[in-house]
Symmetry: C2
Subunit: 329 residues, 2 copies
């Protein structure tokens, strides 16, 4: 393998000069810069990122922490979109992304987590969907040993940023549209999980709407499960005018149940996954751009690693209606 040393020799300069060229230092004459670049070209030199990391003590590695199948198994769209968004942006910023699943670390103590990430030379964490119960993760953040970006968890400090849509507002809006368009009075709300950050925020949106419209809302917890939403629907839907769900998966479960019951009720979901197109009937939902969110999260962790201080970022959402033919074209 050709190293910086060979390049230096070939170009007739010192190793340190080559390094300066490689890292775009300002104080190198145009002449030597060219000599060096020519040598690099001729030799087909590839800088060794491992050696660079060891020397500079900067690995440029970030872990993308994902919660797979803790919600519902049927669809992998959301984590996949996070992965795609994160990896593509990371490549542009010259960062390495190590994908990690909650299941891989859920048995670990804080100390073990710290060791695990340190042994991998990870400097930054992007955590998707942390819940209140993930105490080890909370503690991990508080060690201050890593730069952290939280997707869908509302915590910020010097080296922690948060990024998410306004769940409260989004739930309010999509529910309002669904309810008013059909003049519904008796609302069934299928909520997410107890103690989930986004679940509570979305619930809050429903409460605000209820107050504004003077409705009482009948709420049941569906745990983001399609099956539970189905069962709740089978049990209560007959006496309700509309079903508002805290997630698309639950909306699909509800809609399929309605179809089996052979009755119609307007249903709304939340997230905007393409599976919504397969539920059989059009539904309202909140479209989140997961790819973009992950991309911005990588941006943010990069900035944190460069010394910027943590902040909260609210990204926009969109209200849409989804139907089969839109999804496949």
């Amino acid at each position: 393998m050709v190293s910086i040393r060979d390049v230096a020799k070939h170009a007739g300069v010192a190793i340190s000069t080559v390094s300066k060229v490689l890292n775009h230092y300002p104080n190198v004459s145009e002449e030597t810069r060219k000599k060096v670049n020519d040598a690099i070209e001729e030799l087909g030199f590839v800088p060794n990122s491992i050696a660079a990391a060891l020397s500079s003590k900067k690995s440029g590695r970030v872990a993308l922490l994902l919660d797979v199948n803790r919600h519902v198994q049927t669809v992998d769209e959301i984590p996949m979109q996070y992965i795609v968004g994160a990896i593509n942006r990371a490549k542009e910023l010259n960062l390495d992304v190590i994908t990690v699943f909650f299941t891989m670390i859920q048995e670990m103590s804080v100390e073990e987590m710290v060791r695990y990430f340190q042994s991998q030379s990870i400097e930054g964490l992007v955590i998707c969907g942390m819940s209140k119960q993930d105490i080890a993760l909370h503690k991990l953040i508080h060690t201050g040993k890593f730069k952290v970006v939280l997707i869908d968890a509302p915590y910020v400090n010097a080296n922690t940023s948060a990024i998410h849509i306004d769940h409260t507002k989004a739930q309010y809006e999509v529910a309002k549209e669904t309810i008013l368009a059909n003049k519904c009075r008796r609302i069934l709300y299928i909520a997410g999980k107890k103690n989930g950050y986004v679940s509570e925020e979305r619930m809050q949106g429903m409460n605000e709407l209820a107050k504004e419209l003077g409705l009482t809302i009948f709420t049941r917890v569906g745990n983001f499960s399609e099956l539970q939403a189905r069962e709740i629907t089978l049990k209560y839907a007959r006496k309700k005018d509309a079903i508002i769900c805290a997630s698309d998966m639950m909306a699909i479960g509800a809609m399929k149940a309605l179809i089996d019951m052979d009755i119609f009720r307007p249903v709304s979901g939340f997230d905007g996954i393409s599976l919504m197109g397969y539920a059989g009937k059009q539904m309202h939902t909140v479209k989140q751009n997961f790819k973009d969110i992950a991309s911005r999260a990588i941006d943010e962790v990069d900035k944190l690693m460069k010394g910027q201080t943590g902040q909260e970022i609210i990204v926009p959402h969109e209200l849409i209606r989804m139907e089969y033919l839109d999804v496949i074209s």
Copy 2:
């Protein structure tokens, strides 16, 4: 950061001794091993994998090369399953997985690819779904600079292994079951892509079946696209008795089209993705265990990196029928 040097000092031994303990060398006395481990424990030492990689010239990094949305955008289940399988197994084997998408490298020449992977210190590649047209990738394999495991591409050499199900047999079986159960004579086969390895193998299975049953099969290329399968179905299904598809996505497109046409034909798919449960009607399909395949691929690349020579691995498949309630429970 506490280093091996601190551990050595604390334990009263040489650095090399600590290193030997860390790497489970045999020739270390039980006594010193304990001393060292105690010191590690007390100091909370975490080996620096970057330094280890630099020194040993072994990074333990493999790239997982995925083809996202070149087929059909609607579903991310297959790549996600590959990712999950690969990452979990890699963690057990102490390897790092870098996820890479075809789109990130498709414009690159072989040389650029080599540089890209070398600069990342990647030793092994797991490539999912390479097609015949990916000439740069073929050349990359031939450079011999990386250990490669191919999922669903039938090429093997000293440092290249292949792993896949028997697509020909699987297509033969699922089609036979679908056709015979319904006594069909006029068969519409919606094939995958031209020049795709698996597409041709599956087609081969159809040919064998046609010969055996004395049928002529009417074939159209659907490019693995749900939409194209839909259109083909709308156009030809009326005069056919069964629709055999080379992928689930196309089967879903076909089935949805049949429902819109208000006619029924038995349809079979291929892959066993959970979206099949949402098509509205039960279908036959071939279930591939993508997670397991990826897991084995990581195993295999690990072995290649340890000096084993390339081989072909055929993994089992399963014939199943999928329906909504099975999928969500």
